[in-house]
Symmetry: C2
Subunit: 553 residues, 2 copies
Amino acid sequence: MDNDTTPARRSKWKNYFSPGGKLRPFRLLKQDAHNLQQRYISDWTIFNQQIVASAVYIFFTNILPGITFASDLFVLTGQSWGTIEVVFSTGLVGVIFAVFSAQPLTILGVTGPFSVLAENVYKLCSNTFNVDFLPVMAWCLIHAGWMHIALAIFNAHDWTMQYVTHFSADIFSLLNSVIYFHKAAMALQRTHGAVSLTAFLYAVIGAVGTCLLAVLLSTANSWGLFHRYVRIGLAEYAAAISIILWIGIPHIGELADLDHERLQVQSTFRPSSPSRSTFFVEFWKLPVEWVFLSAIPGAIITVLFYFDHEISSIICTTERYGVRKPGGYAWDITILGLTTILCGILGIPPANGLLPQAPLHTESLLHYVHDGAAEETDDASPAVSQHTTRTYEQRYSHFIQAAMILVFISPPLQKLLGLTQTSVLAGLFLFMGYQSLTVNPVLNRIFQLLTPAAELPELPSGVTWRGIHGYTITQIVVTGIVFGVTLTVAAPAFPLVIIALVPVRLTVMNRIWSRETLRLVDGWACRPGKPEDELHGAEEVVVVDEEKGRDLS
Amino acid sequence: MDNDTTPARRSKWKNYFSPGGKLRPFRLLKQDAHNLQQRYISDWTIFNQQIVASAVYIFFTNILPGITFASDLFVLTGQSWGTIEVVFSTGLVGVIFAVFSAQPLTILGVTGPFSVLAENVYKLCSNTFNVDFLPVMAWCLIHAGWMHIALAIFNAHDWTMQYVTHFSADIFSLLNSVIYFHKAAMALQRTHGAVSLTAFLYAVIGAVGTCLLAVLLSTANSWGLFHRYVRIGLAEYAAAISIILWIGIPHIGELADLDHERLQVQSTFRPSSPSRSTFFVEFWKLPVEWVFLSAIPGAIITVLFYFDHEISSIICTTERYGVRKPGGYAWDITILGLTTILCGILGIPPANGLLPQAPLHTESLLHYVHDGAAEETDDASPAVSQHTTRTYEQRYSHFIQAAMILVFISPPLQKLLGLTQTSVLAGLFLFMGYQSLTVNPVLNRIFQLLTPAAELPELPSGVTWRGIHGYTITQIVVTGIVFGVTLTVAAPAFPLVIIALVPVRLTVMNRIWSRETLRLVDGWACRPGKPEDELHGAEEVVVVDEEKGRDLS
């Protein structure tokens, strides 16, 4: 009966906690601290113009969508949270992560799923239980905070995220493109309901114009005209130039008289709610039963944030970006726990890893170095076969974008943000969806799906196009299902679906597809010309910190 | 005093008329008749799907712009000419040229400059002289007809057009792009004046949408997805697909209630003017003094048509298209004279060589053959260095587009045409301007003008970028001046400006630019890898019939 206390069992459990054991406390954190120390100085010694451009791009792609969430949040949390809280949180948490995180590529912001969750908590507080929302939320976030830290201490990353393969990462990326295209459509649909047909037709022009101009400018590097620096500038500031231009256009001629829908902002630096005067919640005044009950939403927030943040970090450091410095998942989850507690006490929504901004950040920092020699090249249009993709891994771009966002809580700059039409925002959504779609390996396989077999390239032995197409279709179907979930009330649970894919990938899929097929498509994104053995090594796990650590010079 | 009758002088004049002499009657015509006989059978023995696609494309690019001229013409000729006359003429003259012309690549239609001229003749007839417009115009065209034939008999081509170099041809092409972009802007501006702001904003969406979809589809060959035939189909029918789709879109939802501006058509097959019952002008009833006075506008029409038609033929057979069969300038001018007389008697506007439809026609017939061997290749994306550009030189595409236009004078099909919104037409104008701009060598040199010297390729000795840039700027300035002329009442005279460039090119320019520079830029469009000597041969003259004749297998 007392099986669990047999010496063998006890020793097995003991093994888990022994040095190097799966649950050995602080094992990953120590390793992360060591890696962070190794990289930290070099994170502040690279600085160039592309980094500034990246910061400007991420500033726009972070703050503008954030403000749209804010206007929903304002309505659905009884004015507890609005623009100012979202901008404040994004800026503050961003600056903290820029300085202290182990992986500064991971951009943070207030996410859609968290907004949905917070709105549900508000509904329960005000309609069902008649208790103050902000103190309850403060405790939810305090609970979530220590749970984060506990996950980090017991090396949660190793027993949850290590087996996230390209299969899941591709799906998550594709999902993001779909979500952003959908957001663009929703923004235009809302505009349609709110304004005259004339203003709506202009909004369509504004949205498509913003997106197409940004797409056009982003190709400037291959134009073969203008000075090289002009081309680089146009390509790197593509979204910013397009946004600023299209914000200006509706002020011209007859367009100025139309009833454009603009972002709703606030013109004073104070909490959105008229009943608050400072950014501080007296959380200790909450009745003790609610302090304990808050642990339930706290646990949900923990699951949501933990997976969201880790997936953002994984996708923004995926192999094809040539990231070489080690990150630190446990370290970052600890910081995330601390900032979550801080946000709770300040009475602002917490920020966490943001998709697709995190991978867009990495993409805007890509450059090319000669193969073999690690020196940088001036070649503006690199031939893939001769160059290796690298990312400028540093903290300036993260820091600058976060600091700029923080500055934008000042009333005059808020007013400036308020000039932005929702049509420009819809255009930015389209552009973000397009950007994250074009670098997704699934897109290439969808094209291959639509091409007759005779025109496709030859495959290695053991691999069939039938198998690859089946794999691609599976990814599309799963993306469709997860997207369906995001449209329902179960939306905040959607990271769990992605996580559920890990065992599916590791067991069921190994039976359906040949090892060779999985090797090919699950390592699909690797650059051409890479030796096969390296591909094998990277087959199951996208991010292997130890290997990257070795790489670091 | 009587110098002109000295034997030496007389013998010199005699030489001009001797066999092979410059003015020897029928010299060119005989040569053309011989060449035509050589090529005629082979013109009807090539037929494939690309030829059908070309016919469909040219059908749209010919009939839709034609109808816009028609609505202006209808107002400005006191209802004498309208849609039905323009469509009838374009179809009838097109069929005649498809069957009988020496150069079936040259597409014909009613041109803008002729419309301006006819409108001026109408104003004189009705306001100043109070005489019937149609009989006067009939006589103008009869005079123009015999003048055409006289020009052909006395080998006018040899002493006027032989020295048209790339310099002038590039300018004319560029001018066409500018004119089409301007037309698109004008069409939208007119729409702006005629409809509500809502319908106008939709028109902008429709115009840009039509153009962008056509541009996108026209790149289908390089997509790397779908079956090869699907890609080819999408690329070849790009404009047609886009036009039909965008004609349909404004019938959806709320857009259906807008006050769209559509092409004005006629729903019966009878002359536009209520005072006419048949397509026949009783020209012999015109008072005899007007018969003689009509020779003056007749001469102006002759100059206009002669140069317009020859320039169209030259540009649509320019070297980069790899046209090999000999044309026949004198022969075609004779046919043009006859069709002009026919149109005069029918009381419809005459058609002549049409820009940019003629070169667009050639471009839609381009294909690639292996170098050396003349056999055709299946390669959809040819490498320039290994393949030679060739044109499907045949009569079917010209015939089919003309026959389709002729069929469209029937009332039910006219009604179909009447569904076309002016916004779609503006989009088509944009697409035509874009198409003819992208293949213009000037565009590449404008890009080089905007690129710093350090990033430009190396030049042969004796050539400087300064010189090339000067040449390019000269072409842009001349294009600007000629475009300025087309906006004034002197518009019909603009072919003369182009002609005036010939002596400028042959004298002044030889002093400003080095021989090497002129060799390079005036033979700029030649394909890479071509031996230098061939370049020399083609330096001064774009079209050398005799040489092409030798090439013909």
